[in-house]
């Protein structure tokens, strides 16, 4: 076995090394499921809020949000438990960075939501008006996607960050009730769709590794 290597050209050796490194990194491919779960939940909530505000009809948005957020957290907790139970046989720095990016950005968004729901006169504050909240969360999601794209070495995912920032600019210069609808559409386009692409990529890579 040892002698085999000495007969190979430097080119072939480098190719072999690259192949091994690429194969090892497949253990840390994102499956995109949290993107899809949260994207759908918030898009539905925001869509209902938009329709309610636009048509001036009470669609019980408070209860809808409460139900959606509880369902979202229950699903995410189930997903995390399932993932942690699966034997984790290797750790990587990029994996930790990825967790830190979404932990920090998700934490900031979660903290915002917590402050809003815990303050009785929240609706009166301009700083947490739904339109402003959409603007701020677009900025935060832009950061998360930009960094996540770099961590995963995926340019298209990094560019999604620019799309979120562009959306934030639109919300800033055009602060109307339609911002809620725009935000819901952005969640579907720039959160759910990337999640589906990541999931398909994950299945393809895992499938390829299992076949090999």
């Amino acid at each position: 076995m040892d002698n085999k290597m000495s007969q190979q050209s430097p080119d072939a050796e480098l190719q072999y090394i690259r192949k091994i490194i690429a194969d090892s990194r497949t253990a840390f491919v994102e499956d995109g499921k949290p993107y899809i779960i949260w994207g759908l939940i918030v898009a539905v909530g925001m869509g209902i809020t938009y329709v309610s505000a636009y048509t001036q009809r009470d669609l019980y948005t408070g209860f809808v949000w409460m139900g959606l957020v509880l369902f979202g957290w229950a699903t995410i907790i189930w997903y995390i438990i399932k993932k942690r139970r699966a034997p984790k046989r290797a750790t990587s720095f990029m994996d930790r960075i990825q967790g830190a990016i979404w932990g920090a950005c998700g934490g900031a968004l979660g903290l915002g939501v917590l402050l809003i729901v815990s303050y009785p006169h929240a609706a009166d504050l301009p700083s947490i008006h739904p339109i402003y909240a959409c603007f701020v969360s677009s900025l935060i999601l832009g950061i998360a996607y930009f960094l996540s794209g770099i961590a995963n070495d995926l340019n298209w995912l990094r560019n999604i960050g620019f799309a979120w920032w562009a959306g934030a600019v639109v919300m800033y210069v055009w602060p109307t009730i339609h911002v809620l609808g725009i935000y819901a559409a952005m969640l579907l386009l720039f959160q759910v769709v990337p999640g589906i692409i990541l999931l398909r990529r994950y299945r393809r890579i895992v499938g390829t590794v299992q076949e090999a």
Binding site: M1, Q8, I20, A27, A90, S92, R96
Partner: protein
């Protein structure tokens, strides 16, 4: 035309002997891309038998290229390996030398 995979002018004696083995090179390549890995993870990536892998890991450990940590997860023993600073440097030098040979 010469086979690109077989180059008789390739002087492999210039390369680090410890790394210049198919299995050990594969182990180093696996570990360079991640923080640390369990024995079974390396075995699956390198596609070696337990015994063969143990021998090569031991050689890398003796050269101080990899460090080993043994612990129990519940009642199950777990052995994890990671590259040492010396190992990382040696692997980088190995790659540099290979690339130098290609440029020549």
């Amino acid at each position: 035309m010469a086979d690109p995979l077989l180059d008789s002018n390739f002087d492999y004696q210039q390369l680090d002997d410890i790394i210049h083995s198919r299995i050990r090179l594969a182990i180093m390549a696996v570990l360079i891309s991640i923080d640390e890995a369990e024995f079974t993870f390396i075995r699956d990536k390198v596609k070696a038998t337990d015994g063969n892998l143990s021998i090569h890991l031991k050689k890398l450990e003796e050269a101080d290229y990899v460090s080993v940590a043994k612990q129990f997860i519940g009642k199950k023993p777990q052995t994890t390996y990671k590259l040492t600073t010396k190992g990382r440097k040696a692997f980088q030098e190995y790659i540099d030398r290979l690339e130098g040979m290609i440029r020549r």
